[in-house]
């Protein structure tokens, strides 16, 4: 996880006569525990080993490259969103509409392409702008009303959920929008958003998107001014405001980014399957939050990492595919994720106490 790790400075020589000002020494183990993604990484290794050992498929598919294609595919769609939800969570906010937004955006794409016969690329641009608008509305409502984003985006969730079905029924009389592969620009758009690479294993394009988005988010969070502001508005919005950080603007941009990530996932689903169901994405918002929290994000904001969230998504991918390969009833998947979440929150809370406590160190 070298991308997110700050270089460890060599201890400076202690000055004489400053022994009354003890800055607590930070040991290597504490320093590692302070990395938000470390717990998730250890967890991922453990979950991988578990499912590799209970694998009931002939030839141990789970630990083969074909199996890797399977769990990477499952993880990538969660991962793209988990990174966005994690960055938003670091900024101190939730987006419960993140799951249903993938459906809304995919359906809008279907409507533009099939109903209005628009060029696929033009439709993609329109969908991204639409998502940015919804994100801006979410963010502005949260900032203006000062209500918890949990409530605001829960409302958005339900508004969109109803619209997804209602509008689709009006247009198609079904609960599905087809995306015609005859539409202008479909082939080139699908090659970017919904095709595969690395034959014969055929990894999904989404995997590349996921890795790229994780890398960019990590760079922004750890290396840029805006990243510094994200941690600050989540950690202590009043303190951030006092030193001149534009708190409202930062939060609104984060909501817009989350909604646009949902648009990318929706576009991917619609192009890959040449159509999209009205139920797409409903309920997935919780998987994103689980991935972010398992990856070390604090629900209270100000702490976490994009790489951690991606590892969280990977764990979900392991579990989803591993349970099928093990031949277990797939309902245990949810129970398994619940247990993982419990353990992760326990570990996170411990870490946060270590990182934030001023006592016993002075």
């Amino acid at each position: 996880m070298s991308v997110a790790t700050q270089p460890v400075p060599s201890p400076a020589p202690r000055q004489v006569g400053v022994s009354d000002e003890r800055l607590a020494g930070v040991g290597l183990i504490v320093r590692l525990l302070q990395r938000p993604e470390l717990g998730a990484l250890l967890g991922a290794v453990a979950v991988y080993l578990l499912f590799a050992s209970v694998d009931a498929t002939p030839g141990h598919k789970f630990s083969s490259i074909a199996g890797m294609q399977n769990w990477m595919d499952a993880a990538s769609s969660y991962g793209i969103m988990a990174v966005a939800v994690a960055v938003l969570m670091i900024g101190g906010e939730f987006d419960l509409s993140a799951g249903v937004m993938t459906g809304t955006c995919g359906l809008l794409l279907g409507a533009l392409i099939t109903k209005y016969q628009q060029n696929v690329w033009l439709s993609i641009v329109v969908v991204l702008l639409f998502a940015a608008l919804i994100g801006a509305i979410n963010g502005t409502l949260v900032v203006r009303t000062k209500l918890p984003s949990f409530i605001i985006t829960l409302a958005t969730f339900f508004v969109l959920r109803g619209m997804n079905v209602g509008v689709t029924l009006l247009f198609t009389n079904t609960v599905r929008f087809d995306v015609s592969d005859q539409a202008p620009g479909f082939a080139s758009a699908q090659s970017i958003f919904g095709s595969t690479f690395l034959a014969p294993y055929n990894f999904q394009d989404a995997v590349l998107w996921w890795i790229a988005i994780t890398a960019i988010a990590t760079w922004v969070l750890t290396q840029t001014t805006f990243g510094n502001w994200i941690y600050a508005v989540g950690g202590d919005a009043n303190a951030a405001r006092a030193v001149g950080v534009p708190v409202s603007r930062t939060k609104i941009i984060l909501f817009m980014y989350t909604a646009m990530s949902a648009a990318i996932v929706g576009i991917m689903v619609a192009l890959r399957y040449k159509g999209i169901q009205t139920g797409q994405g409903v309920g997935q918002e919780f998987f994103f939050i689980i991935a972010a929290v398992v990856g070390g994000c604090l629900l209270t904001g100000g702490y976490g990492s994009a790489i951690g969230a991606s590892i969280g998504a990977l764990i979900i991918g392991f579990a989803q595919i591993g349970i099928i390969f093990a031949g277990w009833d797939s309902n245990w998947y949810f129970t398994f994720l619940g247990v993982i979440l419990f353990v992760a929150v326990g570990v996170n809370t411990m870490v946060r106490r270590r990182a934030a406590s001023a006592r016993g160190r002075g």
């Binding site: 400076a12 000055q15 290396q223 510094n228």
Partner: protein
């Protein structure tokens, strides 16, 4: 006690008054802040200390009188202008984010960057070097600038906030009750930083309700009571006892101590009452 080069006070408050509707928050307040001096503003709760800070730091405009910076009348439209003019406030909550590292907190809102366009990134190396240098000037050896601020003690956090204000060009440093939430030892450490800031040529305004903290470090003492100036003294004109007495309102304290003495049933309370009367005398 060096004055400004031209002998004019760094910051001068002349007959300033402030009204909130019909409430007189401050009336006829005058004080001077000189470079290399600590001006203590003393007052009990509700004396008008907060209103005075807010006027000096540009949060509220004043309704009467004038504010002179380097001898020139000024009027600030907001805290940003006051900060740009060199007046910095270190608030009680210190405006630091506990979970963020020392260096990220120090430069929050004024981040140094290298590179251009999309490759522009935080200059972490520069930031960490500045932290080490600035904190060393205050006698603190920062071994790990990546350490979260939340792991620092109250005094150390205060030091980070002061160092930040000084580094970003404060000429007048306003410290709002810096010792109120601290224990005895940590308070002593913070007072040491106050002296250091003074020695580096800053004009320091120390807001406090504790004369025991103000007297050892202060050069001038301004006493506020119910929004009015109760007195203004330089150090040789007053003593700790006198300050304490004036702050509590001598007669009132004497009456309280008598009442307490009458009520006292155990020796300990009687002892407290006796001490209180000593102070009031």
């Amino acid at each position: 006690m060096s004055d400004s080069p031209n002998g004019v006070p760094l910051l001068e408050v002349r007959h300033v008054g402030k009204y909130f509707g019909s409430v007189i928050a401050l009336k006829d307040i005058s004080m001077q802040v000189h470079a290399g001096e600590v001006t203590c503003v003393l007052g009990d709760n509700g004396a008008g200390k907060s209103t005075l800070i807010k006027i000096l730091s540009g949060v509220h405009p004043h309704d009467e009188g004038e504010l002179l910076l380097d001898g020139k009348p000024v009027r600030f439209n907001g805290p940003r202008e006051a900060r740009a003019a060199g007046i910095s406030v270190v608030f009680q909550d210190l405006a630091t984010v506990p979970l963020m590292s020392i260096w990220r907190n120090f430069f929050l809102g004024s981040e140094p960057t290298v590179g251009v366009g999309p490759a522009r990134k935080l200059d972490a190396g520069f930031a960490k070097k500045v932290i080490r240098d600035e904190m060393r000037k205050m006698g603190i050896d920062v071994r790990d600038p990546n350490q979260p601020v939340g792991t620092l003690s109250g005094g150390e956090r205060q030091a980070v906030a002061i160092a930040r204000a000084v580094y970003f060009g404060a000429k007048v440093l306003i410290l709002d009750e810096p010792t109120s939430a601290l224990g005895v030892k940590q308070s002593g450490i913070v007072l040491k930083y106050v002296v250091q800031a003074r020695e580096r040529g800053l004009g320091v305004i120390l807001i406090t309700h504790n004369p025991h903290h103000a007297y050892p470090v202060g050069d001038r003492f301004v006493l506020l009571n119910r929004g009015r100036l109760m007195g203004s003294y330089s150090k040789h004109e007053t003593s700790l006892d006198q300050l304490t007495k004036m702050m509590a309102g001598g007669e009132e304290l004497e009456r309280l101590s008598k009442e307490l003495e009458q009520m006292a049933t155990d020796t300990e309370t009687r002892e407290v009452a006796r001490e209180l009367r000593e102070e009031a005398r």
